[in-house]
């Protein structure tokens, strides 16, 4: 920025702010307080992170991300791509173990979503093949999702599958390691490594719905 001249900076700043204008605002003077917008925290999370994009499932159905997939549900979200040679396959396999551990709750109040990070290549058909390869049955509460590339990119960022280093961020393999899960109405959101022990991920997901949930190691090996 040091090479910017004054005229350019003033143009950038959009207004010729000069010192005299600022100096009148001394410490202690109350600034004009704009009215706060009455919006619930849940609504704010939706606005920031859960856009209502239209996605296509591996079963070929059009769905709205917020309205149909996330609202009022416990969700488990990861990113993958069908041609992935690396960690996607073991993570999908691990999530399948999580899926089994959660049992009949999946499809009822808990839903799994795997969003492709390569929407240009991953047609619903390609995703269906990927799901079939992993023996994920239709109606099992687990959807593989694709959509418009720019919207998928926005969704990726809004769900935090990003890296602060732009070079690292361009490498897709850096966004597939984590699994996000949340209870949308309770505003509880967390994440685990996708290759963490399946029982650990499952108990953390189950624990999002129920305050009676206690840590799994109820034996408490602390003292002796």
């Amino acid at each position: 920025m040091s090479s910017i001249d004054r005229r350019r900076w003033l143009a950038l700043s959009g207004a010729a702010v000069v010192g005299t204008g600022l100096a009148t605002q001394s410490a202690g003077q109350q600034m004009v307080k704009p009215a706060e917008r009455a919006v619930s925290p849940r609504e704010r999370i939706r606005e920031r992170h859960l856009p209502n994009f239209t996605l296509t499932t591996h079963e070929g159905k059009q769905v709205k991300f917020y309205d149909d997939l996330v609202k009022d549900k416990i969700v488990v979200i990861n990113m993958m791509y069908a041609q992935c040679q690396g960690v996607c396959t073991p993570i999908t396999a691990n999530l399948l173990r999580v899926h089994k551990l959660l049992g009949p709750r999946v499809g009822k109040d808990i839903f799994f979503y795997s969003i492709t990070i390569a929407p240009e290549k991953d047609t619903p058909k390609a995703l269906r093949h990927y799901a079939e390869m992993h023996k994920i049955k239709p109606g099992s509460g687990w959807l593989f999702l694709t959509g418009k590339p720019d919207e998928i990119e926005t969704l990726r960022r809004k769900l935090g599958f990003v890296d602060p280093d732009p070079v690292v961020d361009r490498d897709k393999s850096n966004h597939i390691g984590n699994v996000r899960f949340g209870n949308e109405p309770r505003m509880l959101w967390a994440a685990h490594p996708g290759l963490a022990r399946a029982s650990a991920i499952a108990s953390a997901i189950a624990g999002l719905s129920d305050d009676r949930e206690e840590p799994p190691d109820a034996g408490g090996k602390g003292g002796r």
């Binding site: 700043s13 010192g19 001394s26 994440a191 685990h192 190691d217 602390g222």
Partner: protein
């Protein structure tokens, strides 16, 4: 639609932020001129340093936006003589389950699952109650009341809680038992989990009272935490009272609920725990003659936060895995307060309470930016150094503490600012670069009264504290821990953390009388451009080497510590002596966002024989 380049977008946003911040700072024309922000003709100069909440390097931000502007230095610093609370109310009895038993109570409200290790040996002489609750709290007069979570005392009404939590002011050899009630609501106002486990950072405390991340309990329950306040070595190297050179001074406590520590501490669940003894007495007329508590002994809890531009309420980046930087700097729960001091010596106990920011703090005089305003660092991570060390700045990573002595008699009549000049753009860690003086983050305004003031505290140049315990004993074992990042996941020695804490990664030997338990731990940061403040529970360590070089005698790192800053590609070698108590403890990154994304492992301290069980 015309496309604006990313660089241009960044410039536009930077310019807007600059305007907001300059306006918010309410600085005088003379101050702006002095800071180099304004030309003699009265024009503003563009400046990057004012915004503490940069966009990510990739040029976007999808979580909380920049905070609304607030006028700085409107409100006084909360201290223990001004609104801050000392946990000064012991209770005579608890309603149920009394006297507090060794085994967990057969009550549906009991949250504890393990028996106390040392309740009989160190019977509590003080009983406290704390109640974790939602409360509405002002952080700044231009922002609405904030729904926060804090700690209430037994005598407080049910909607009152303190944020920061009340300060424990305790003495060595006076054991304490706290019944810690979880009364947090299910409605979290947007973030936070109403299950808790309060970590006492970094007491010599049995595992079941330490606040292990997976010892969390539900709302409606209580948990008895027993703090023996005993010196390390009482049952091993220095029976029966422990090693005086292991004395600790500035501890703190905070929630540690696995996966939700960042959210719960961001919401307010943290406070100070101060320990005194016959040397560090809290009275400047006795012992080491350090400035008296509470008038001249001032804890400063530094936190950085973001507030929603529209609702003006505290905003937490729920989907940020790398670390969260705030653009509002709070001290003891208030945004940019001021503090009026007398022209004499003060002890400040400074804590970086996170979630992710590193600091390098200076005392800046905006009227004389070239002045090097020195002070004395007397502790590292709350442990008094062998002797005070004169410094001109103070580096802190998350969870690190430092006690400093500032002699304001040399600054009588001046206005100083506690200024963070360390440049940090994102959760990866700081750049190795400073803002010019006056262009960093002005955290607190310090107004020094003119004239002279009485001062009975000792001059730091004349003081000596505790000798460092010897590190000469050979290690029983040397362990190597490599911190990596793989596909966006944190790994330690190529293994991921078990987020339920069930997996014991390794076992260390519990030193007892005649049982040596020295270990060397080598921590390597292989995670690319990331910095990590690594915290190891329970036992203080000493850094033997940083990047292969022994720590020099005049370094503030020549000390006992419990958090080590591990910069990009750095390696440190630590000396440990595990002893006295046993049980499960974690090692983790104290960037609480990294911690919540599984940058943690569990180790157990066990007796001889048990340590030979499967060891990876």
């Amino acid at each position: 639609m015309a496309k604006i380049s990313k660089t241009r977008q960044k410039e536009l946003r930077a310019a807007r932020k600059n305007r907001q911040e300059i306006a918010a700072a309410g600085l005088s024309r003379r101050e702006l001129f002095k800071m180099g922000l304004i030309t003699s003709a009265g024009y503003l100069i563009p400046k990057r340093g004012l915004s503490a909440r940069a966009l990510s390097s990739a040029g976007y931000r999808d979580g909380c936006e920049e905070s609304p502007p607030t006028t700085p230095f409107l409100e006084p610093l909360p201290t223990h003589t001004n609104g801050g609370m000392v946990l000064n109310t012991t209770v005579g009895s608890f309603g149920e389950c009394f006297p507090p038993p060794v085994a967990p109570c057969p009550s549906p409200r009991e949250g504890r699952r393990a028996p106390h290790q040392a309740l009989a040996r160190f019977p509590p002489q003080k009983l406290y109650e704390v109640h974790q609750r939602r409360t509405l709290k002002s952080v700044h007069p231009q922002l609405p009341l904030q729904p926060l979570w804090g700690f209430g005392r037994a005598i407080d009404p049910p909607d009152v809680a303190w944020v920061p939590g009340p300060t424990y002011r305790e003495d060595y050899n006076v054991p304490v038992l706290v019944r810690n009630f979880n009364e947090l609501p299910a409605n979290n106002d947007g973030f936070g989990r109403n299950q808790v486990t309060t970590h006492q950072h970094n007491g010599h405390t049995p595992s079941e009272s330490d606040g292990f991340p997976c010892d969390y309990y539900n709302s409606g329950k209580f948990y008895d935490q027993h703090y023996p306040n005993v010196l390390a070595g009482f049952d091993s190297t220095h029976p029966p009272t422990g090693d005086i050179n292991e004395s600790m001074s500035t501890l703190w406590y905070h929630d540690h609920r696995v996966d939700f520590t960042a959210q719960n501490t961001y919401k307010g669940l943290a406070g100070f725990y101060l320990l005194f003894n016959q040397f560090d007495t809290g009275n400047e007329e006795s012992g080491f003659r350090l400035p008296s508590f509470p008038e001249f002994d001032i804890p400063l809890m530094l936190t950085d936060r973001v507030f929603d531009r529209e609702t003006k309420l505290l905003c937490f980046d729920l989907f940020e895995l790398d670390g969260i930087l705030g653009d509002k700097f709070l001290v003891n729960g208030k945004i940019q307060p001021f503090f009026n001091v007398q022209p004499r010596r003060y002890r400040f106990r400074i804590l970086d309470a996170g979630p992710s920011r590193f600091y390098q703090l200076f005392l800046t005089n905006l009227q004389n930016l070239n002045a090097q305003n020195g002070f004395w660092q007397i502790s590292n991570d709350g442990n008094l150094l062998p002797r005070p060390i004169p410094v001109t700045s103070l580096k802190l990573g998350v969870a690190e503490r430092a006690d400093i002595i500032v002699d304001f008699s040399q600054y009588a009549g001046q206005t100083l600012y506690l200024e963070n000049r360390l440049i940090q753009d994102d959760g990866r860690g700081p750049r190795n670069e400073l803002f010019p003086p006056g262009q960093g983050n002005l955290i607190m305004k310090i107004v020094v009264a003119p004239g002279v003031a009485p001062d009975l505290s000792a001059h730091p140049s004349t003081q000596a504290f505790y000798a460092l315990p010897s590190t000469a004993d050979p290690p029983r074992v040397t362990r190597v821990f490599r911190f990596d990042r793989t596909n966006g996941q944190w790994a330690i020695n190529n293994r991921l953390m078990d987020p339920t804490c069930e997996e014991v990664r390794f076992r260390v030997l519990r030193g007892r009388v005649g049982v040596p338990s020295v270990e060397h731990w080598i921590l390597q940061n292989n995670s690319g451009g990331w910095s990590h403040p690594i915290h190891i529970h329970f036992e203080e360590f000493q850094i033997l080497e940083r990047n292969g070089v022994p720590i020099p005698d005049n370094s503030v790192e020549k000390s006992r510590k419990d958090v080590v800053r591990l910069g990009p590609n750095e390696t440190v070698k630590l000396f440990f002596r595990f002893r006295d108590f046993g049980g499960r403890y974690p090692m983790h990154c104290h960037n609480t966002v990294h911690e919540d994304h599984a940058m943690m492992l569990r180790f157990d301290i066990v007796d001889q024989g048990a340590d030979t069980i499967r060891e990876p």
